[in-house]
Symmetry: C2
Subunit: 183 residues, 2 copies
DNA sequence: TTCCGCATGTAACCAGTTACATGATTAC
DNA sequence: GTAATCATGTAACTGGTTACATGCGGAA
């Protein structure tokens, strides 16, 4: 389980509310981890019980109170401990791959259309990642520390999307009707 | 949800027992989908209730009875229907990426060691995939139908592993102490 | 004699999703 | 007026994992 620890990383960078954390997952850390706000609230409660974070209630008028979460020493220690441990390589599940595999038992053209849609989705994401790269890391060779690590994760996202696009293209080339010459 | 449908694909190729299906997930389909035998038994029960498969009990002496599952017409129809529908692109969760991102809050050298271990794991898998490719698809340009689709999924596995290895290498290059020249 | 393969499952648990609920503020 | 943003959560459910249980045959 790693959501706890993804949150620890996020809080180590800076304190925030459950709402904040959920939004951060939509963005930067979100290349390789996501969580809904419901899930975040649940886990934060557990983390507080474990003594990894403290809560400060911040009254607001007009809108509901905020709860700012801060890492405790115990939280930092747990984070360091976890970082030093092994990470299980997770199995990549791909529904699209299952459809490709089974394409002969359905309509191959529909599968091809879906692959094309995925290719476009991946291309869109790639563009947005590349834009982030340009904006946030214009000179990567100088990076060090946390900023470098952030960059490396982004690079992972970029390389993943590129791979996905290439794969979709390969599928499309072999699934789509051959150029008329052969007919 | 797609385990049901992954099983339908597997059964469309050929009938089998729960045990067989679980093992097939370890192999061919397993590049992009896996399931334990417990999970398979559970889902098969559901699928039988839905009328997608029929069960034939095959008595054996010495060992427990087998249950061979066969697709029904309804099962085939459901498979065709599902194949024609959209596939949600799933979010790739990577614990390793979270560790890389948080490396500054722990021991960077341990993270690097773990990245190296992952690179080796991916390299091993790549080798085995490439061996499968050579053995099962010596002449890819002639493939058509189900065999082609199988090949394309394998190609996806190969490209995924290659991407993972490249990413690990990029991380290792920037995380590890610079060649002494610069010091 | 010990482990692996065959072959079935149950039970407890855990992580994550979806739906629902509340309610003010601000921008279009 | 309508939708989005801020901000919290509960409840029901689903999919998947882990641990446990049984028991024979054959290989090392």
């Amino acid at each position: 389980m790693a959501l706890e620890h993804a949150i620890l990383v996020s809080l180590a960078e800076r304190a925030g509310t459950g709402y904040d954390l959920a939004r951060r997952f939509d963005k930067s850390i979100g290349y390789f981890w996501t969580a809904t706000h419901q899930q975040v609230y649940k886990v934060l409660a557990r983390m507080e019980a474990a003594g990894w974070v403290t809560v400060t209630v911040l009254a607001q008028d007009g809108r509901p109170d905020k709860k700012r979460y801060d890492l405790t020493e115990a939280g930092r220690a747990e984070l360091a401990r976890w970082i030093g441990g092994p990470a299980e390589p997770e199995l990549t599940r791909s529904e699209l791959a299952v459809k490709v595999r089974g394409a002969s038992y359905g309509d191959v053209r529909l599968v091809a259309a879906e692959v094309e849609r995925h290719r476009d989705l991946h291309a869109e994401r790639l563009d947005s990642y590349l834009a982030n790269e340009k904006r946030d890391f214009p000179d990567p060779s100088r990076l060090r520390g946390a900023k470098l690590h952030q960059y490396l994760v982004l690079r992972g996202g970029i390389s993943y999307e590129r791979g996905a696009i290439e794969w979709c293209d390969e599928i499309l080339e072999s699934l789509r009707p051959r150029p008329k010459g052969k007919r």
